[in-house]
Structure formats: C-alpha cells, structure tokens
Symmetry: C2
Subunit: 144 residues, 2 copies
C-alpha cells in the first residue's frame, strides 16, 4: 500500500445517496432493511439536509442527502440524474495532506480549502473527472 | 430495527463502480488511495470482470466492474451513464428470505432466483425503481 504520499485512507466512510424526501427515505431503509439513523443535521452552506444510517456490523454508513434548495449541489444532481447514488467517501487521517498529495499528482479538488462536513468533520472532494466518474469525498473525522 | 421480516442486513457489503479498464482502475486506487486488491474474478454469466478493493479498517469493499462485452449490464451502464457509481450492496444473512420478504412488501427483484455472485456468494438485486434510484444488491456470502 502506498502511504508514501503523506496521508492514509482508513476505510470507505460512507456512500451518499440523493433523495427527494429525507423522512421517507429513512423510513424505507429502517422498515425494509433495518438501517438505524445515527445522525441527522442541516448543512446550510452545502444546501443539504442529511442523515447517516448504520447497520450492526461494519463501520461504513449510508448518507441520505436531501436538498434544501434547487440550486444546491444535491438539488442540481436530482434535477439532472434523479435520486440515486451520488458520492463515495473515504475516511482519511489528514484531509490537508490528502488534498496536497492528490493535487501534486494532478488531481483536481472541488474546494480550495476543506469545508465543514457531517458532524464537524473536514471534507473535500476529488473531481469526478479525476476519479473515474466517481464524486469522491475525503473525510477527516472530528477529533474525539 | 425491523428483523420481523425474516432476514437481517449485517452491513454495507460493497460499493460497485463501473470502469472501462480494470487494471488501470486498480492501479489508480492502489497508487493514489492505498486500496489493496483482495479478490479478482471473471463472471461469464454476468458478462463482467471484477475486482474487490479493501482498506485496512472497515469491512465494506469497493467493487470495480469492467464489462466483458457491450451487451452486458455493465456494458450498457457505461454506454448510458459513463464510468462511475453503479450499485450498492448489502450483506444479508439469508438472500432467499430477503427476496421473499421484499417481494411480499411489493418490491421488484431483478432475478426470479438468486444467482452466483462474487466468490460464490448468492445475490439478487432490488430494482432501482423500488429503492430510490439505487441498484441495491443483496449478498449472502458463501459459507466459510
Ligand atoms: Co458525504
Ligand atoms: Co456487486
């Protein structure tokens, strides 16, 4: 494994799914698949209301993302593609080092500086063009 | 949590990404993100060559899917959407019970009977129409 780049991916943090109705989606995942809502918040800056859903085994969570307004990233995604898989996120130990390393390899990051993500994490995204069509989020969790 | 339906979701099993070149994608995830290829196989029936990529923490894996022929599911996906996120899979303890339960709730499954998936698992898919636009795979791992 290549940790020579100054950052380490620990795991797949979450899979993000764009939804139109957050409550209905949470209910579906709970009723049909036993998924438990472990976190919920509004992120005004990103224009999104989001919830994290977890299962008993495994630490990778499902992130349900509903737009606060049509001109938000999730609003535009829904408009263009409809509901469905929107992003994959990786837990990194150091998002600044990750961004520096990936930029040095020629990859484009969406934000000049990391922004606030779920639960006070710090996040950035690799442009899908540089990640095989995947909107790839980098998540440095908040210090415990 | 609702286990009254006769099956249990254990975790998010994997996230599936459609790629055009499996070797190049494996190299990218290894070089840039430290992902380790832990399994690789050809599934003639599904018309796909696939690889599973893992990180040190967390059990959810990345599944890279490359088409063996243009008229395969992944070939058609690439043709329509281009490379990117294609499926999310959940580990279930009993795929037959899961299919029965979900059908009883009115959800459409793609196969009348589970088929062989990665590493002798047994799999089926919920139709994206009935899963919020997500192609949702159900995976019962092979007995150890
Ligand atoms: Co996210
Ligand atoms: Co799969």
């Amino acid at each position: 494994m290549s940790y020579e780049f100054g950052f380490r991916v620990r795991r797949i943090d979450h899979v993000g799914v764009a939804v139109t109705d957050l409550d209905a989606a949470l209910e579906d995942y709970r009723e049909r698949f036993g998924g438990r809502c472990v976190h919920r918040e509004v992120n005004e800056e990103q224009g999104v209301e989001e919830a994290m859903v977890a299962w008993p085994e495994g630490s990778t969570q499902l992130q349900l993302l509903a737009p606060l307004r049509p001109d938000s990233p999730i609003g535009r995604f829904l408009d263009k593609r409809g509901p469905g898989l929107q992003q994959m996120a990786m837990t990194v130990d150091d998002v600044d080092a990750a961004c520096e390393s990936l930029r040095a390899q020629g990859l484009e990051l969406l934000f000049p500086e990391p922004k606030r993500g779920t639960a006070d994490s710090r996040i950035n995204f690799v442009h899908p063009r540089d990640a095989g069509g995947v909107l790839l989020e980098l998540v440095e969790p908040a210090a415990e």
